[in-house]
Amino acid sequence: MTLLAVQSLSKSFGGVVAAQDVDFALERGEMLALIGPNGAGKSTVFNMIGGQLRSDHGQVLLDGQDITAISPQARFRRGVGRTFQVAQAFLSMSVAENVQMALVSRARESRALWSPARKRHREEALMLLDRVGMADAADRPCSALAYGDVKRVELAIALAGQPKLLLMDEPTAGMAPRERAALMDLTASIAASEGIGVLFTEHDMDVVFGHAGRVLVLLRGRIIASGAPDEIRSNPDVQQAYLGDDHALAQPTGAEAP
């Protein structure tokens, strides 16, 4: 069965249509990139799937079950993990505690009042940190990490929920180019080995064309193209509407909002 099915999802803010009849599907183990110029509605679509925004119309199905109206918390329990455009971690805690917190919540222990949180699920947390290459920093305060490292910790937190679907909103924003490729390689290998479907938005075209299995192009709230990276790269509509000219494929930072 299809992992994630998005059906005619729509959302307007006042008179502005941020998303209109967005339809797509995502399979297990697939890396799907959602791209579009600024203001195209990427974050809106993303937040409707993540549960931060309520949609006006349409449905979001996870494993065939309707999750359109449920809270982010309930989505977590159904297997949705996410990272944020601006990394969100618990800065007052150590790196390991950040991941332990997610494990505690998964085990439904977050209301426990007695034995210390510090000691719970530590082994599993260290394993997850090892997978993202952050095991050495386990006992450092999260507030002392470089931004790129916080993004890795965020990935470990998201993986702690044993997600079926991973939502990554601009996963490499604010990272150095080499770090970007490394993080996305890591994500792709985890997704492949565990059969996690990954939906991500991205402005960096190297990341998009280098790591996505399939690309969706959003413009003014509508999907105007969908296909393999090479097809998207050569699609005249996409070039015309989104990228402006041929050079923009190499230098996407010049892309303008329509």
């Binding site: 931060q52 007052s92 977050s110 209301r111 009042l113 949180a117 937190i157 998201a158």
Partner: protein, 615 residues
Amino acid sequence: MDPSFLVIQALNGLASASSLFITACGLTIVFGVTRIVNFAHGSLYMIGAYTAATLVPRLLELSFGPVSFWAGILVSALIVGIIGVLIEVLLLRRIYGAPELFQLLATFGLVLVVQDLVVQVFGPQDILGPRAPGLRAPVEILGRRFPSYELVLIAAGPVVLGLVWLLLRRTRFGVLVRAATQDRDMIAALGVNQAILFTGTLFLGAFLAGLGGALQIPRVAANTGMDLAIIAEAFVVTVVGGMGSVTGAFLAALIIGQLQAFGILIFPKSTLVVVFLLMAVVLAIRPNGLFGRPETVGGTHAVGIASHKPRSSNWILGLAAIAALACLPLAADAYLLKVATEILIFALFAFSLQLLIGVGGLVSFGHAAFFGLGAYGAALAVKWLGAPMEAALPAGLVLAGTGAALIGAFVVRLSGIYLAMMTLAAAQILYAVAFQWVEVTGGDNGIVGVWPSAWASGQVPYYLMTLGLTVVAVFLLVRIINAPFGYALRAARDSEPRAESIGINLRQHRWLAFMISGAAAGLSGGLYAFSRGSVDPGLLGIPTSVDALTMLLLGGIQTVMGPLVGAGVLHFLRDQIMPLTSLWRLFLGLSIIAMVLLFPRGLVGTVQHWREERA
């Protein structure tokens, strides 16, 4: 019912709505631009009233007539405006970037300072101002006499609304104020001189507060209780109207004025309860008030406890401290033991607040509610049920926990400053109930004869019992802070989106935190009632809440043990200094301001920081 009576009541409601609006309008404009909830706004109102009540009679002696009267009112408001400028330049300017809790505490420090200064400058007596020349005779409306000055007041509200509207719409300053209310950072990025804008805003806000106060002089004598009385109402008006919205404040003031005028027909004793219930209802339906917008300030603003490596030496220190406290009766006299008992009680009270503020980032400004509920719960059980102490203490704890469950259910829907004001309002409701429901609570006199059981009635046994209960409660709270529940609260404080996306139900956890914290505060309240033998409404008042906050600030909000140290130091200082000076509030207020500005880590936080720097 007599229609003429209804008309008169409605007119009375309009007159108080006008006064309330003029004052609250200044508060909401200042908040809109500076994002500071100025607790001292009520103090500015009080200064306006005192200044006018002193100045206007002198002017009337020089030349008697309406011109002198109104000129005196305006000059008084201008003087208050200049005081507002001084406050902005000397204090507020330094705390715009500080966490909300520190801003509230610093401006409350100002309230304390002004209370003592007003007595120094104007003397301890209430001052009744002169009646306005030309408006002395009442007018007759539907066969009833109605003071003509009230009609002028009724007109003053809309006039001020119109002038403020013109100022905000038609002047460059107004454009900047509106722009800053929408997006302060953008205004800064556009190169607007923020210093002048903020100073100007404070002048306007203080001027309106002063005007509101000055206009009261023919109706009410200027008195030292005016500041906290008006600030609670002004908070309600701004919160109901939506923080930063002038029209919202006007509408809210109209509603509240009418509610107060007609509320006495339904609840003859407690109009305050009706008003605060309105606020509860509005905030439950519209968490940002009638015209307010959601706050963009997020959880990053919260300061609080962070993870530290557990030290084995902490255990030894803790046990040593407990042992030393247990041996205190061997060395101390009865007076010292009484002080030590009170310190322990307040330490538990402050510590219970730490669970909300330091751990959860929930700035509760009405923690006195739970302390007072615990005390009254115990006292009522003794008075009405004849319960012994062993049953009355748990009764107080249960009442406080239940109160916290009810209040918490409302306030966990809110965030930041709205949560602070809503908790304050909840405490004020309970204060009003305790004050006005005389048959049950004894009103102002409170309840006496709340004595401990025979085995605990001596100074030493009661001290030891308090020590035991406090140690057990603090130990349990520390376990909770370190347990997953405490961590989940911290997670919600650090990043709400992250906490939600790992499946933590924020409201549910915060609600539970309110209940636990409320129950612990209730235990301390019950212990306090039995230690003094009586309770009175003061236990539920704003100063009690601020005591707990000051203890937290003094000890260090980022530390687990800070509140205990803070409670000890504050109580000790109070005990030592209060008998020496009549200016205790001035001293305390200045100390709070100094701590916020110079010493925000607190005592324990500074030591901890120093140890970590060295390591």
